[in-house]
């Protein structure tokens, strides 16, 4: 059992500073929430990189090491990254550290060749020597089966290919399934015993040739063995040709499948281009609004001073008005007549007014000046624009992020479209037809050679039986040696078929159970039926196979297969799935989340919250939800991994 304990990444993708993800000890699910572009796929790739020294990009292509460095640090001249993975395998603790850094003398790396790649593996307390690091890791977690542990929606789609007898991708997945299920042990035993029994045949032939009584039989045996060898050599050549052509056919299949999506990708790209343009236009408008808001923002700095000046001016006006009143009284006492009241003043009133007049009367001019100053100060408008500026700045950031996200997607789609031009498609289709035809001939040749080998083998058997019947004592030991090897090879040959049949039954039963737990149409379906290639067909309650199934149903079937393989494979480990709900509706998504703990002891779900929200996940998983993290935005090139539970 393989179990992840923790992973620390630094300078890897959007993770500029070291970020640590610790996995819980107890069986259950760890969920990492993250918006687009925050680094969910990068985390999956970090685990891949730790185990296999490589990461995977879109279309299952190997990603460039150079492209994995954090872009912000790279812009500052710091290239390279490190990944440290702590895990357990069958109770033994391992610490694996990989680091990529620019080669000595390379200041600004431009490609993968400019990097040095270091690896350190500690097993328990001992450091594993460099020579056996890869071999040790291959035993712990064979790369060929990684697809059943670390996957995304795109990889899940490939499982449809298992239903096609002609698909090379399907063949490869079948081989990987047999690998994870432990079949190769039996297959290799059969192959090795056959090779050893052939050596024993040669020894028996050589020994028989030396004895006069059995010389002719010995020579005939040697000749038959030579014939068999010639056919085996031809078979090996044809099989190598088969592997080469199959690989080319699989690549072409992948390419042609991807260009089938050409129109859809083109539409998506065009839509994203339009969205990016609209976003850029909006950004300009928001920027202008912000500029306007900022043009008034300086006023808020003068609030205190203006208020102080206004208070002083107000006071001045009041003083000047009081002075003016006194001046008017003085004039009235002098003239004995009040111009404001338009009447003559008696002596008593004049005396009273004179007594109330001070020494510093004002004038009309000074009142006018004071009022003018107060008016000026009152004209100064103070508007607090802090909130507006904050809102506009936030909106600007959102628009920039939106454009960065769109640009990234557009970049991906453009690169996917770059090799989908009509001429390449036409040539690829022609090559595909040519290779398919060649493969037919090669496989006919393989069948014919196998038949010849079987026939020669029967001759060898007959000759050996004759030799045994000859009763030559000297030959008894070699005869017994080859007989034991032959019998053992026959046992393992039959065991391969038997074991595969048993496994298929077990995988079918487990997958059916998981499928019924995840499908929303439990009343209609009885389960799944497995084919020779491990392809799964949905079985209706009336017994018929559902030939046509939706994209969502394919997805659920693929997830059921993954869980079933985990439950039946000798190698068990964590399932790390990246955004696996893309093609599922809400109810299916809920059913899948609920089934996660039964798929593997350790499940890590990297999820976009629009697929399923935190509250819903918590409700569905209950105590089986062991830990939650969120990928927090710091900038478009910088993400922080924060534990939230």
């Amino acid at each position: 059992m393989l179990k992840l304990r923790s992973i620390e990444v630094a300078g890897f993708g959007p993770f500029a500073e070291p970020q640590l993800l610790e996995f819980p000890d107890r069986p259950g699910v760890t969920v990492v929430y993250g918006e687009n572009m925050r680094g969910k796929t990068t985390l999956l790739n970090a685990i891949r990189f730790a185990f296999f020294g490589k990461a995977v990009g879109r279309g299952s292509r190997t990603a460039k090491i150079h492209a994995l460095s954090n872009r912000e640090l790279a812009a500052q001249g710091q290239f390279g990254f490190s990944v440290a993975l702590d895990f357990e395998h069958d109770g033994v603790r391992y610490e694996l550290h990989r680091e990529c850094r620019p080669r000595l003398g390379v200041e600004k790396p431009e490609g993968d060749a400019d990097y040095d790649h270091d690896m350190l593996l500690r097993r328990g307390d001992a450091i594993v020597s460099q020579e056996v690091c890869d071999k040790t890791l291959q035993q712990v977690f064979p790369g060929e089966v990684s697809r059943f542990f670390l996957f995304d929606g795109e990889l899940l789609q490939e499982y449809e290919e298992l239903l096609s007898n002609e698909s090379e991708t399907g063949r490869r997945i079948s081989a990987a399934i047999e690998r994870i299920l432990g079949v190769p042990i039996l297959k290799r035993a059969k192959m090795h015993l056959t090779l050893l029994s052939e050596d024993a045949d040669r020894e028996a032939a050589a020994a028989a040739s030396k004895n006069k009584k059995t010389e002719m039989l010995g020579n005939a045996l040697r000749s038959a063995i030579d014939q068999k060898k010639a056919h085996q050599d031809e078979l090996a050549r044809l099989e190598a040709e088969d592997v080469k052509l199959s690989g080319e056919k699989a690549d072409l299949e992948r390419y042609l499948n991807s260009v089938k999506r050409y129109a859809a990708i083109l539409a998506q790209r065009n839509e994203a281009l339009a969205q990016r343009e609209a976003s850029a236009t909006l950004e300009l408008e928001v920027r202008a609004d912000l500029q306007r808001a900022m043009s008034d923002a300086w006023r808020s700095l003068l609030v205190g001073r203006v208020q102080q000046a206004r208070d002083l001016a107000q006071q001045d006006v009041e003083n000047q008005v009081a002075g003016l009143k006194l001046d008017l009284r003085l004039q009235a006492t002098k003239a004995g007549y009040c111009e404001i009241c338009d009447r003559a003043l008696d002596e008593e009133t004049c005396v009273r007014l004179r007594a109330s007049i001070g020494t510093d009367p004002g004038s009309t001019d000074s009142v006018t000046q004071a009022l003018s100053r107060l008016n000026d100060l009152n004209r100064f408008q103070i508007r607090d624009v802090t909130d507006v500026v904050k809102q506009l700045t936030k909106r600007l950031q959102e628009l920039r992020l939106e454009q960065a996200t769109l640009s990234d997607r557009i970049g991906d789609w453009t690169s996917e479209l770059s090799d989908a031009d009509p001429e390449t498609m036409r040539r690829s289709q022609a090559s595909y037809a040519e290779i398919t035809e060649k493969l037919v001939h090669v496989r006919i040749g393989i069948g014919a050679e196998k038949k010849k080998i079987d026939e020669t083998d029967e001759s060898i058997q007959r000759l050996n039986e004759k030799l045994a019947a000859a009763g030559v004592r000297d030959l008894a030991a070699t005869q017994r040696h080859r007989s034991v090897l032959r019998s053992a090879a026959d046992v393992f040959s039959a065991a391969v078929d038997r074991y595969k049949a048993d496994l298929r039954q077990r995988v079918e039963a487990s997958a059916s159970k998981l499928f019924l737990a995840m499908t929303t149409e439990k009343k209609d379906y009885a389960g799944l039926t497995i084919s020779e290639n491990y392809g799964l067909t949905i079985r209706h309650r009336d017994g018929a196979a559902e030939d046509l199934r939706s994209a969502g149903a394919e997805h659920v079937v693929a997830l059921a297969l993954m869980g079933a393989l985990q439950q039946n494979a000798p190698l068990r480990g964590p399932i790390v799935m990246d955004s696996p709900f893309g093609r599922l509706d809400e109810e299916h998504t809920s059913n899948v989340v609920r089934a996660l703990p039964s798929m593997a002891d350790q499940v890590v779900l990297l999820v976009f919250e629009a697929e399923i929200g935190r509250d819903r996940i918590r409700e569905l998983l209950g105590p089986k939800l062991r830990r939650e993290y969120v990928l927090d935005y710091v900038s478009a090139r910088r993400t922080k991994l924060t534990p939230i539970r």
């Binding site: 432990g182 090795h192 017994r480 034991v484 065991a495």
Partner: protein, 62 residues
């Protein structure tokens, strides 16, 4: 591969042995499975281990 899974492989091999080659030693077949399990990526080492197991079996007079 854990002991349980190895047992599952061995159990299949043993079932076949009983019907196809009952005179062959079950211990020898177990040694062959173990030789393969211990050398998953190394043909030469696996064949050498099998050869050793067969020779031991033959010299043991079983």
């Amino acid at each position: 591969m854990s002991t349980t899974e190895l047992q599952s492989l061995l159990s299949t091999v043993e079932t076949i042995r009983q019907t196809l080659a009952p005179t062959l030693s079950a211990e020898l077949l177990q040694a062959i499975v173990e030789a393969e399990e211990g050398n998953p990526e190394d043909d030469v080492a696996a064949m050498r281990a099998i050869d050793r197991a067969v020779k031991t079996y033959l010299t043991g007079g079983e």
